[in-house]
Symmetry: C2
Subunit: 407 residues, 2 copies
Amino acid sequence: MALIVQKYGGTSVGSLARIQTVAQKIKTFKEGGAQLVVSVSAMSGETSRMIKLAKEIQDVPSLREMDVLLTTGEQVTIALLSMALQQLGCDAISYTGAQVQIITDSKHGKARIKSIDGHRIRSRLDEGKVVVVAGFQGIDEFGHITTLGRGGSDTTAVALAAALNADECQIYTDVDGVYTTDPNIEPKARKMRSVSYEEMLEMASLGSKVLQIRSVEFASKYQVPLRVLSSMIDKPIGTLITREENIMEQAIISGITHNKDEAKLSLIGVPDKPGIAYKILSPISEANIEVDMIVQSVSAREGLTNFAFTVHRNDFNKAQAILQSTCKKLSAIAVQSDDKVVKVSLVGIGMRSHAGIATQMFGALDKENINIQMIATSEIKISVVIDEKYLELAVRSLHNAFGLDKE
Amino acid sequence: MALIVQKYGGTSVGSLARIQTVAQKIKTFKEGGAQLVVSVSAMSGETSRMIKLAKEIQDVPSLREMDVLLTTGEQVTIALLSMALQQLGCDAISYTGAQVQIITDSKHGKARIKSIDGHRIRSRLDEGKVVVVAGFQGIDEFGHITTLGRGGSDTTAVALAAALNADECQIYTDVDGVYTTDPNIEPKARKMRSVSYEEMLEMASLGSKVLQIRSVEFASKYQVPLRVLSSMIDKPIGTLITREENIMEQAIISGITHNKDEAKLSLIGVPDKPGIAYKILSPISEANIEVDMIVQSVSAREGLTNFAFTVHRNDFNKAQAILQSTCKKLSAIAVQSDDKVVKVSLVGIGMRSHAGIATQMFGALDKENINIQMIATSEIKISVVIDEKYLELAVRSLHNAFGLDKE
């Protein structure tokens, strides 16, 4: 008998009516003949409500106590969902993270799962029960309650699937799968049947908000087939995220992602000496600003170089001020900055074996007179920074140029 | 250093502001130089709200899942109270029932505590922390979450005090102690400084809603000094419930209690044969009706007896119908019933060594022309059933007759 782990997020269990709908779905699925473990989040809104309470009572709420508080959210959901299943005649039992020994490290608010004891869950499955497990939470080796941080319910589901050696981990969400690009920008965007872990990782980090990146990493590490589906559609197929080898027909390019939160900073005319990159970036890191793309190029003037990088737009002003001071220290010529840029990326495992993808990409952008300001490449991804006004045009041109609308 | 266990009920922690007030109280107490363990209930209203949710989702909510649901209530309180304490600079840490191994039997919704592991709590106390423990909850030996039933937070506090060998267990509530009688009836009612476990048990079972009877039993069994105090008053003294030997000046009579929920049923002219009491009461018990006082008396007619008992007024109609049918079966003469009666009781350990208390009681009632319908006596209690219209008069006359208004 197949063993499936399903995960339903906060919106899917956001009201009693929705919990009842999810229960009906689970019951139907179970009757199809599978063993089922279900991981759930807190009802939507609950987590924010509790964070607000905590902040009213403590200026900087204790991370440990915050975890004690927040984990009640999923505990409510597992109880109500189990009751809803029982009401439908579907035998079910709930477990908190502590009860099934989801052991994490001790980093409250962003703990990482170290191990799960599948023994108790297996016994209940063998009794024919649906096992409902609280997502997002665990305990550390000292028995303190921990949380995995926002989106941690996905990770719980994948970790459960890995621990139980499940056949598939299904993440039910409000979208029905992973698309070749943002359908809001390119209506011809196509839902992918399958995509590799590696590609999904590149897409998740680039802003496709379908899955938490950590859950994909986990799935990749333990080779858990992961499926994203809609909890709103009746018989969903979704998108399967799996090992490259399991994908029958690998497209050269899988998808195009974009990121609107970029801002670009450049230091012009820096004396080209060893350690320049470190001298420029270390004050930025010390201010807790994360740097995304980095490009160092030779300047027109002899012995000088230009150094450019991107940061999140929220950090733009802070980074700019730091860079001005660095500019003086290093006797560079000038700081240039621009927060009206976006990043557009092409992702595809096929890139590794197909030459000329970058050329094809730059050609497609050139055809539309879109100026490329920065370029970064990895094995399965090419990213460019462009003026934000070209975002939609660039995404649509590339989607068309690489034939992503065709199966 | 003294070790004190304090318990704050749902009303005392019913809002963020009240939680902050309780935190201030705890901090002040701690600064007085004691180790402190604090047990708390769910914020008032939360438990009822969750029961309502559960009933909307399952016709007869699963007792196991109900416990998983309800225990989130105290878990929220322990986190918020710990945060409030930390905000005041008072180091604190929260624990759920499971975390401090409050092991109970497996009767969901009304579990009984079997043991508590005081080890973890002691370590935190030795670190100078206030330890905040969720009341009302535990886990059974299989790791299932259990609750002790309504009022179980008192029991948790007493059990913690017993396990930790605490110097005193303080129950903070909305009254400032145990009174010689209901102050609403007799304004001269006096707050007792101390009362014995045995007396408190008799008074609790008779309707003084100050303490849960199980917590007094527990305190008595483990000889935990128990103090009832008001959480509303600044420097409360309250009433100490302790061993008889610890009470310096034991009054003959400690208090007068009353119960307005009584209804009386009599079977008149039953043939006086062995097994009559069983034949009359077993159909009542089978209908889950609890019987309080029982009196069997000789009838005026030869070979016949009269049998009378009291039940809760809610059960009056049901019990009457059953008794009518029993009347036919046993060929008794008639059923007499009256739900306009009350029970008034005199409680006092001194009774054991003082003769004539009953006579004095009956004399005081006679003086007011109050007819006594039933009498029941125990070692430290005399109860009478009278017409409900005499309730206030009887309580005041007895309070005066035994000089209870004087220290």
